[in-house]
């Protein structure tokens, strides 16, 4: 990838959709209409997008509490996602899960996950299905730097290498797990080096550089698809907002906060690069901006107007049969 116009526009559309989705939730959250916790992905869009560009609907991803970006990049319906976040019956999970549990198995999205380190074991399970059934399916686990320290993550990496599973572990290092810095909490030289210790081919890339992530993801996903086993990628990109909406972020300095968008805006970096390469025009990208804005606008309006589930829905879907 790098010169195909349609692919570049597709990538930009996904990244821009994630950004606008998150920026809009940041604003709408202050109205009090969005229940519960939201964790925004703004700043990390290039990572989910670059990885998911190489995945098919039949491939699986497992996500985190910060899952909106992964869901959009994997093709989840934006209207249904927004409705879910508002707790509406029209939501992707009928209002039962909310922001931290968005899932769409049709799109290969195994779920956001409110347990840190919850998804890696599940994702190797999806990879096991692909291996046992002999498909060329691939499964990708997204984890944060904080989740990289969880025992479940270590166990999953080891089992993936032992069973030679078609899986890729993406570690999104955004510098912090809640209010604790990655440099404090990760004892190894880097998350990538530690993954290497488990026997996985692993690289560290700049997560604000779409093309860097894309190249690493392509190699790792191809390796998995060809039955050559698991890999890991550590992608470094800071989140623009707090851990959750409402986080005062005292663990970050004022300088750090002001510099985030100046130096670490993956959308701006992408735009500058593709416009300079003359593969796409400013007008192409501006048009996508417009389309995305109106898509998010109508998603918010529809979500606000949709009905809540009713009391009867409380008791449904606990079991398939009972």
């Amino acid at each position: 990838m790098g010169s195909d116009k349609n692919e570049l526009l597709d990538a930009y559309r996904r990244m821009k959709s994630i950004r606008e989705f998150e920026e809009r939730i940041h604003i709408e959250n202050t109205t009090g209409e969005i229940p519960g916790f939201v964790h925004l992905y703004a700043g990390q869009e290039a990572i989910a997008t670059a990885v998911c560009m190489h995945l098919r609907d039949s491939d699986y991803i497992g996500s985190t509490h910060r899952g909106h970006g992964h869901s959009i990049a994997k093709g989840c319906d934006i209207n249904a996602m927004m409705a879910e976040i508002y707790g509406k019956k029209t939501g992707l999970c009928a209002g039962k899960g909310g922001s931290m549990h968005i899932a769409d198995f049709e799109k290969g999205m195994l779920g956001a996950n409110a347990i840190v380190g919850g998804n890696p074991p599940l994702v190797i399970g999806a990879a096991l299905t692909a291996k046992v059934q002999g498909t060329d399916g691939v499964a990708v686990s997204f984890s944060g730097d904080g989740a990289s320290n969880q025992g479940t993550t270590f166990e999953s990496m080891n089992m993936a290498i032992v069973l030679q599973l078609p899986v890729v572990f993406i570690f999104e290092n955004n510098g912090y797990g809640e209010g604790t810095g990655c440099d404090y909490a990760v004892g190894a030289e880097s998350i990538a080096r530690r993954a290497e210790g488990f026997g996985l081919p692993a690289v560290q890339v700049d997560g604000t550089d779409f093309f860097a992530v894309e190249a690493a993801a392509k190699e790792a996903i191809n390796r998995a698809r060809m039955g050559q086993g698991p890999s890991a990628i550590e992608a470094v990109a800071m989140r623009f907002y707090g851990h959750f909406e409402g986080d005062p972020q005292a663990y970050r300095s004022a300088e750090e906060l002001t510099q985030l968008r100046e130096t670490g805006d993956c959308l701006k970096i992408f735009r500058d690069r593709v416009e300079a390469d003359k593969h796409v025009t400013k007008a192409d990208l501006d048009q996508i901006d417009q389309e995305v804005m109106s898509l998010i606008d109508s998603a918010v309006n529809a979500a606000r107007e949709a009905d809540f589930p009713t009391k009867d829905d409380l008791l449904t879907d606990v079991y398939v049969s009972y």
Partner: protein, 335 residues
Amino acid sequence: MTQKTIREALNDALRQEMRRDNNVIILGEDVAGGHGGTGVIDAYGGPLGVTKGLIGEFGANRVIDTPITESAIMGAAAGAAATGLRPIAELMFVDFMGVCFDQIFNQAAKFRYMFGGKTRTPMVIRTTIGAGMRTAAQHSQCLYHMFTSVPGLKCVMPSNAYDAKGLLIEAIRDDDPVIFFENKLLYDHACDVPDESYAIPFGEANVVREGRDITIVAFSRMVHIAEEAAKTLASEGISVEVIDPRTTSPLDEETILESVEKTGRLVVVDESAARCGMAADIAGLVAEKGFSSLKGPIIQITPPHTPVPFSPPLEDAYIPTVAAVVAGVHRLLKV
């Protein structure tokens, strides 16, 4: 005596016990916060602010921020407790017990018995419980019934700030593993709390309100729901006794049985579980040991047998309400 919130009362208890005994340490995720960042240390002071300021007084050697790694946190607390410290480990949400239960129920809880009475494991696990914050199925459970069923663990769940302080001090001084359940919706709940240190013994229920016609046993935040219901019922001329056991293990059976002997009727309000929860446990106790005083069936007010839903109207329907308790009492009294 000053008015303090539960958050402040807990902070008081931790500070006073850490001053008293250098072996008391705190460990958990973001119990201070800010390590390895560009901002300030103690940026969080605990995810819900309970441990704020403690690292300033006691230092990072005793107020320990850990990686996100609950198995290692709980195991380290158990191992340290068995070898001379008195750790207070924080499990941010009780829902995360899934990641670390082995270290709690197979290890810490069983050491003393398995090793023929040779060990002490004086650790406290502070954790948060409860629905009502729209935090969905993996951040809203109570689960104290599961810990209560494990021999070797003591389970404590204060409903007010006075009890919170006294029970936490008792928990820290206790030589067995204690799980201390803090309801997320109660942190700002305030009442008079003495500045000086005091301990409340485990296994002593608090009779929150005396009454003649009916006994309501309730836990944690449900004590407040029961009290509200009692007020409503009082205006109808129904006299309700409200009992807060405060600890489910050990359980003050006597206070409950004596009350039922007096009123002849029992309602249990419990947010933990519809099946095999504290409501069922108390109902079983009274059915067996208080059967002859019962004038009617025991009513259990619990959530339905479902995970905690996200959407507000669903979550509101999930949590036991004042109206549900009043209706339960009406059913029992056939009014």
